[in-house]
Structures are given as structure tokens and as C-alpha cells.
């Protein structure tokens, strides 16, 4: 029995330890304090009561990777969000391409050789950024990242200390846009000894601590070539769970984050004095493809006349904006139109095609009910979209069955076994329409099984591929997309909004740029 008592005492002591550990955190929870480092201690920056309070931002991010090697996988997206790496060009809020590590560019008359003048930039260790180093970086990217395998045919050559030439086998009009990809980050390949944990790059911040697939702490790069960062540093907490981010914001543990979900957005909207919401149309598009090989023209047209994108966007509570085409309407290549939803016209089309309403209220022809399959997968609010489309179609008398698959690319996209296929993708990777058009409308593309591609469209896409005039590119893009709308082959439902929230005074964390791969900059500030 004495032994039992000892065991109980030990167990109770364990409980006490937990209780004390819980209570011991109070002092560390002062909002807006400097970030905790990997060992859980406070950064030295905030310990002194200096007149100018050090500025440390605490931000939540949605992904975390095991490496900081910007050339590999998608890791460059996050090194750029952390403000550690930079590219030759970047995209501004107005979707225009702006020089960053490059001062300017020119292309040869035959369109095959691009020449870039580099800015007087330097790495965080003080070493200058040279054309040779940039060329070596690009060669390394091609070598280590399968997505850039096509670039193996390009040659990268340093003409002099600050002049880089890229020669392509074919005309490559989207060169500047391509170079805004975060993977084209420039690192000091000679000085970096640990690409996974401590890359030496050119951004306004340098890594202070990095936990693979965890939190990251950055501090100001005192050698930054393009001004002085307003922040002394930042901690980027990996928080994949939406509720955790909301509660961390409410408890004062983080200052800002992007990808706010609908539920959290509604809560922030009730307290505008504490939270500043920024909502801009993003580049991730929800759309559907109508299988023209299985459905008549009248049914295709009826579907597009029925789906009410505005109503869907309203239902999704501001997380998406209703779309007309795949691109933001303000872009020069986003100038397309589509008919307003008109259920009566949709019904008239079906009736003109010989469909009549049966006793159950569904359209049928020859005794066979018109029944459509809506294939989708569980991501990016597509299940909600599928249900809403099903409801809208039901309202005009069209029966729709929902089919959910785990992997659309290996499932319905590959087989073409659908009437309506829902999908979500990034439509605009960097201020040019070609990437999206190439992915959506090519005869050899993944959606070809739906029966849309025509020789005429293919010819237009080929023309767009090599067109160098920006206005002409926009006109071609508009023509192709308009054709996809007019032929009722595609339905562009919504563009995901980039919804960011911040405390008052926090600004410049790329909340106004629609792309997911921008974050901290030298201008990021906490007021």
C-alpha cells in the first residue's frame, strides 16, 4: 500500500508540473513583443528599452518546406515570401513587370537573344551580383528543378560583369514574365555552404533561424542593396489550420496573414478597429469545362445561361469574386464578355431542342431525363460550387448528379468521363495570358477530350506563343478566351480573392499583390 501511495504521489506531481507549466506562460504573452527564437527565448532586440522600439513582425504562413533552396521544388515561393530571395524582375500590384535585380532588358531583332543589364546589387554577405553568378544560378535551376527542364535548350552567358545574355531556340516573348518566377532567385552559389538552411541571397532579410517544415525567423539584411528594410525582423509561423490563425490573431500572437477563410473574415469584419481586411481578386480560378462531345449545343448554352457566378460569389462570402474570363477584368488580356444569367432563356433553348418537363419537373427528351454529372474534387471550395451549380440547374429543371473524385488529373480529367468538370488552377502566373491559354485550350492539352479545341484556336494559340507585341498578345488572348465562352465550352465561375488581415498599422506584406509568392519586402512595416 505504501508503494501505491508513492505511485499516486508521483502521478499527482506530474499533474502539478503540467499545471505550473501552463500558468508560467503569462508573462511571455505580451502582444507585439519580439519573436521567440527556436529555443523559445525572447530575441535580444526587445530587451533593451531603447528609444526606437525594434520592429518585429509576426506573420502566419500556410505552407512550410523542408529546405530554403530557392531553386528546388516550390521552395523559392517561400524564400521570397520571407524576403530572403529576389529575382531579376517582379510583378507589381497593377500586374506590370518591373525590374528588380535587372536594370533593364532588350531583345535582339530575331527575338532569340535577350540581354539584361544588372542593377548594382549585392548579396547579404556584401559580394556583388554578377552576370556570371546569375547565369550559373539559372543553369542550376534547370538542373535541379524538373519544371524548368524546357530551359535546358536555352543558353545563359555573361557578356561582362553586369550584362547577361539568354539565347533561346525559338522566340520567347514571355521571357520577362518567366523571370519573375520565384525559382529564378539569385543566390551566392560560391559563398553558400548550406542551401537547405542558410542560403545567401539578395533580399531585404536574412535567415536567423529556420526549422524545416516549421517556423522561420528573419532579421534585417544590413547589406541590402535597395534601401533599408523598415522592419528589424520577422517571425513567420507555419499555421496550416484556419482556426489556429484566427485565434492567434485574436490573442495578439500574430500581426497579419493572408488566405483568410470566409468564417474568419466574417469575424474580423465585426471589429474593423482591431483588424484591417484587404480583399483583392487573386489569380487562382474556379472554372468548369462542359463536355461538348456528350452534350448538344443547346444544353451547353443552357448550362452557361443558368450558372449565376455573382450568386455563387455571394454565397461564398467574399472569398471569391465572380469571373467573366480566366483573368482579372482589369488586365488588358481580361477584356471578354459573357451573357448575363437568364434561366428563362436557358429553358427556352432546351425546349427548342425538344426537351419537355416531365412530371418530376425535370427536362426529358424521348422519355429520357436530361441528367448531367458534375465531377469535382474536395479542394478550393469546389464541393460548394458543385452543390450550388446543382441547385441552380435544378431550378430550371435539369437534374445534376455530383461525382467527387480524389485525384481529378488521374480521374475524370484524364478519362473525359464527365458532363461538367470542375477545376481550380492558377490562371495567371505573372502578368501574361499564354501560360493559362496553353494549359486550357491546346489540342494536346488535358481538356481536349471535352471537344473544344479547333484548328482555328490552335492557330491563334501558336500565334500568341511567338507574338512579341504586348497589345497584340492581349488582343489574341481576348479573342481565344471569348471563343471559349461563345462556344459554351468553358464556364469561368470565380477568381479566388486574396484576403489578408492585419492589425492597424501593419502594411506592405504584399497584401495588394494578387500572387501568392510575395510577402515581406523592404517596405513592410508595422507602423
Amino acid at each position: 500500500m505504501k508503494q501505491s501511495r508513492k505511485v499516486f504521489a508521483l502521478l499527482l506531481a506530474l499533474c502539478m508540473v503540467f499545471a505550473l507549466a501552463a500558468c508560467g506562460q503569462t508573462a511571455a504573452q505580451a502582444p507585439s513583443a519580439a519573436p521567440a527564437d527556436s529555443s523559445g527565448t525572447q530575441s535580444s532586440g526587445t530587451e533593451s528599452a531603447a528609444p526606437a522600439e525594434p520592429k518585429f513582425l509576426k506573420m502566419a504562413v500556410n505552407f512550410a518546406y523542408p529546405s530554403l533552396d530557392a531553386h528546388k521544388d516550390y521552395y523559392g515561393w517561400y524564400t521570397q515570401i520571407y524576403g530572403v530571395t529576389e529575382t531579376l524582375f517582379r510583378i507589381d500590384a497593377d500586374m506590370s513587370v518591373q525590374p528588380l535585380l535587372a536594370k533593364g532588358s532588350s531583345v535582339s531583332e530575331d527575338g532569340l537573344t535577350w540581354t539584361f543589364e544588372l542593377a548594382d546589387a549585392c548579396f547579404s554577405n556584401g559580394n556583388p551580383v554578377t552576370a556570371d553568378m546569375v547565369a550559373r544560378n539559372f543553369r542550376r535551376l534547370v538542373e535541379v528543378n524538373g519544371r524548368y527542364e524546357d530551359w535546358a535548350a536555352f543558353t545563359f552567358e555573361a557578356k561582362d560583369e553586369k550584362t547577361l545574355a539568354i539565347t533561346t531556340p525559338d522566340v520567347f516573348p514571355t521571357m520577362l514574365v518567366a523571370l519573375t518566377d520565384p525559382e529564378f532567385a539569385v543566390m551566392d552559389l560560391d559563398a553558400t555552404t548550406d542551401f537547405d538552411n542558410a542560403p545567401i541571397a539578395t533580399g531585404p532579410f536574412v535567415i536567423k533561424s529556420f526549422k524545416p517544415e516549421g517556423d522561420v525567423e528573419v532579421v534585417r539584411n544590413d547589406n541590402y542593396w535597395n534601401g533599408k528594410a523598415k522592419l528589424d525582423g520577422a517571425t513567420l509561423f507555419y499555421m496550416p489550420d484556419a482556426d489556429s490563425k484566427l485565434l492567434a490573431m485574436q490573442s495578439g500572437e500574430i500581426d497579419c496573414y493572408t488566405s483568410v477563410d470566409a468564417a474568419a473574415k466574417a469575424i474580423y469584419e465585426t471589429d474593423p478597429s482591431s483588424y484591417v481586411l484587404t480583399v483583392i481578386p487573386g489569380t487562382r480560378m474556379q472554372f468548369y469545362v462542359i463536355n461538348k462531345t456528350r452534350l448538344s449545343d443547346s444544353v451547353c448554352a443552357a448550362i452557361n445561361l443558368t450558372v449565376d457566378c455573382e450568386a455563387i460569389a455571394e454565397y461564398l462570402k467574399g472569398t471569391t469574386s465572380a469571373a467573366v474570363g480566366p483573368f482579372i477584368a482589369s488586365a488588358p488580356y481580361g477584356q471578354v464578355t459573357k451573357p448575363a444569367p437568364d434561366p428563362a432563356a436557358a429553358k427556352a433553348l432546351l425546349e427548342a431542342d425538344g426537351y419537355t418537363l416531365n412530371a418530376d419537373g425535370y427536362y426529358a427528351k424521348g422519355g429520357k431525363v436530361l441528367e448531367l454529372s458534375i465531377c469535382h474534387y474536395k479542394s478550393r471550395q469546389l464541393p460548394d460550387l458543385a452543390v450550388l451549380m446543382q441547385e441552380q440547374l435544378k431550378n430550371i429543371g435539369v437534374k445534376a448528379t455530383l461525382v467527387v473524385q480524389e485525384d481529378p488529373d488521374a480521374g475524370y480529367v484524364a478519362t473525359g468521363d464527365y458532363d461538367i468538370a470542375l477545376y481550380c488552377m492558377i490562371a495567371d502566373t505573372g502578368g501574361d495570358p499564354y501560360y493559362c491559354i496553353d494549359a486550357l485550350y491546346r489540342e494536346s492539352g488535358k481538356w481536349a477530350k471535352a471537344g473544344f479545341p479547333t484548328d482555328e484556336i490552335e492557330a491563334l494559340i501558336n500565334k500568341l506563343q511567338f507574338e512579341t507585341d504586348i497589345d497584340q498578345r492581349a488582343a489574341l488572348a481576348n479573342q481565344i478566351v471569348q471563343e471559349s465562352i461563345d462556344m459554351n465550352a468553358f464556364g469561368y465561375v470565380g477568381l479566388f480573392n486574396k484576403v489578408s488581415v492585419a492589425r492597424p498599422g501593419v502594411s506592405g506584406f504584399s497584401e495588394n499583390i494578387p500572387f501568392d509568392f510575395y510577402g515581406l519586402t523592404a517596405d513592410t512595416d508595422i507602423g
Binding site: L11, L14, F18, G214, S244, D409, M425
Partner: protein, 312 residues
């Protein structure tokens, strides 16, 4: 005993081969592949040609048996391969995940046990009292509430309202408290009910009433009751250890705790076969070893089981 342990460990080899083969087969048959998942990770469309080349370079186009055989051959040599997703060694990923999962599992289990056992004894001794009613209500609620709800409630009250604990303190002692509480509450609820039922059953046995009639002190009776309940209690605790060491996806995601559960879930989502295989090998080993340890504990607790024919 040594022979018995040897036989059980021999069974483990068969179990690991069967489980790894079945898992590999199921993953192979499931739609989608690691190459497409890896390249399209951020929603950027990649040409089919590049996906095909990547698939080729990853060896995914090889026949099923060749892929499995290749993996098994390396696994036998202690090489679990590299992750398809990020090319980092699987063993390192599992070791890191295991460290965090083990910390969380052990502390949660200890906490749950420390709370549940005294409460179960008290409520069994004072059956149908107010304490018993309150405890049963608590154990019922703890058992019924889903993990994510307990987690959110804990975060709301302890972090947002009381500012007692930090939400951002993952991978540290501070960060351990809340996931530990969130995991412990349902386990504790279950333990209380099961321990109480077992102790009540023992209290109803004739040897207890006989001892009481003979005037044996209550603490000695209680000691015997606990001793006789220990086999059931050991079984309950052992099964919980196995489950906990498999990781908890929900808790680990919400509290940013980098354990095995989230690692496994990410691997399944990304069709990361080497990581999935490594995880399966690990969990099957854990289950077999835990069961073996519990069996050994049985004979330690009840010497009668050591006799030949005692293990029936």
C-alpha cells in the same frame, strides 16, 4: 519466455512483409501519382510531357512488383529511401516525427492515467455519489467531444481569453501543454469509464465481501482489487499507447506539432510511397512490440501465467 518472445518477434517479420505489401499495392491502385502531385503542388499547371519525364525519373513507370521489390530490398538493408515529395531521407523524417509523437503520447498518457486512476477508484468506492455523477458526466463528455472541438475550446479559453498559454509556441515545452491536454481529455474520459467498470467488477467479487466480513482493512482490500484489475488496465493502456504512437493528425495540425500523424497524412495526400511505407513499417512494429510488452507484463503481474499452460 525467451522462446515465446522469439516466436512473437518472428511473427513481426511476417506481419511487416504483409502490411508493407498491402499498403504498397493499395497506394499503387489508388488514382494519382507522386510526380503530378509534386509538380502541381501550388496549383501551377505543368505539361504532361514534364510530368511523364518526372514520373520516369522517379521510377514510377516500372511494374508494381519491381517497384515494391526495389523498395523492399533497400528496406531490408536499412535504407527506407528518400521522400518523393522533397527528396529528404525517410528515416530522418520518421525519426523527427517519432520524437515529437513519442513526447506527446507519453505525456498525454501519463496525464490521463494520473487523473483517471484515482478518479476511477474514488467513483467505484463511492458509486452513485455526487462525485460519481460528476465524474461520469466529465468522462462521457470527454469521450464524446471530437478532438478538434476540444482543441479549439482549449485555445479559445487558455490562449485568447486567459492568455495563459501561447498558440505560437510549437515544438517546445510551452507548445506541448495544449496538445497534451487536448489528447488527454478524451483518453482520460475513456480510462475513467473503463477503469471504474473493472474496479467495480472486482469489488463485487466474493473475495472482497469475504475480506470485509473478516475485518480486513479497506486499504488492503483495495490493494488486492487494484492488483486483480491490473491486467485489464494494462490492456487498456497498452492499446492506447499503440494508437497514440501512430500520431494524431488533427491535434498535430491545429497545434503545429510536427509528429508522425501529420507526416503520414501529408505523405498519403502527396502519394509519397517511401514515407507511407516507412510509417506503416513503424506503426506495425510498434503495435506488435507493445502487445508483446503487455503480454510480458501480464506474466509479471500474475505469476500464474508464467507456468506452462498458464497462457490460455
Amino acid at each position: 519466455m525467451a522462446g515465446y518472445i522469439g516466436r512473437r518477434l518472428l511473427h513481426l517479420v511476417g506481419i511487416m512483409i504483409a502490411v508493407s505489401f498491402l499498403t504498397f499495392l493499395l497506394m499503387y491502385l489508388a488514382p494519382g501519382d507522386a510526380a503530378a502531385k509534386k509538380l502541381n503542388a501550388q496549383g501551377v499547371a505543368v505539361s504532361e510531357e514534364i510530368i511523364e519525364k518526372t514520373r520516369e525519373s522517379m521510377g514510377l513507370n516500372r511494374p508494381f512488383l519491381v517497384q515494391y521489390g526495389d523498395w523492399a530490398l533497400h528496406a531490408l538493408q536499412g535504407d527506407l529511401g528518400n521522400s518523393y515529395k522533397d527528396d529528404f531521407p525517410v528515416a530522418g523524417k520518421l525519426a523527427r516525427g517519432l520524437r515529437y509523437t513519442a513526447i506527446l503520447a507519453v505525456t498525454s498518457l501519463a496525464l490521463a492515467f494520473a487523473v483517471a486512476l484515482p478518479l476511477a477508484i474514488l467513483t467505484a468506492l463511492h458509486k452513485d455519489s455526487l462525485l460519481d455523477d460528476i465524474t461520469r458526466l466529465f468522462s462521457f463528455a470527454g469521450n464524446s467531444l471530437p478532438n478538434f472541438l476540444i482543441s479549439v475550446l482549449l485555445m479559445y479559453f487558455l490562449c485568447v481569453k486567459a492568455h495563459l498559454l501561447p498558440l505560437t509556441a510549437s515544438e517546445s515545452v510551452k507548445g506541448l501543454v495544449m496538445p497534451c491536454l487536448a489528447l488527454s481529455i478524451p483518453i482520460c474520459g475513456r480510462f475513467i469509464r473503463q477503469f471504474r467498470a473493472e474496479i467495480l467488477e472486482q469489488l463485487g467479487r466474493p473475495y472482497v465481501s469475504g475480506s470485509m466480513l473478516r475485518g480486513v482493512k479497506q486499504r488492503y482490500i483495495l490493494g488486492n482489487v487494484l492488483h486483480n484489475s491490473s491486467i485489464s488496465i494494462l490492456t487498456i493502456v497498452g492499446l492506447s499507447i499503440g494508437t497514440l504512437l501512430g500520431g494524431s493528425v488533427v491535434i498535430e495540425t491545429i497545434f503545429r506539432w510536427p509528429g508522425l500523424g501529420k507526416l503520414a497524412m501529408d505523405a498519403i495526400t502527396n502519394r509519397d510511397y517511401p514515407v507511407i511505407q516507412g510509417f506503416v513499417l513503424f506503426t506495425s512494429t510498434v503495435y506488435v512490440v507493445i502487445n508483446l510488452l503487455i503480454d510480458i507484463c501480464y506474466s509479471w503481474v500474475d505469476p500464474r501465467l508464467r507456468k506452462p499452460g498458464g497462457r490460455s
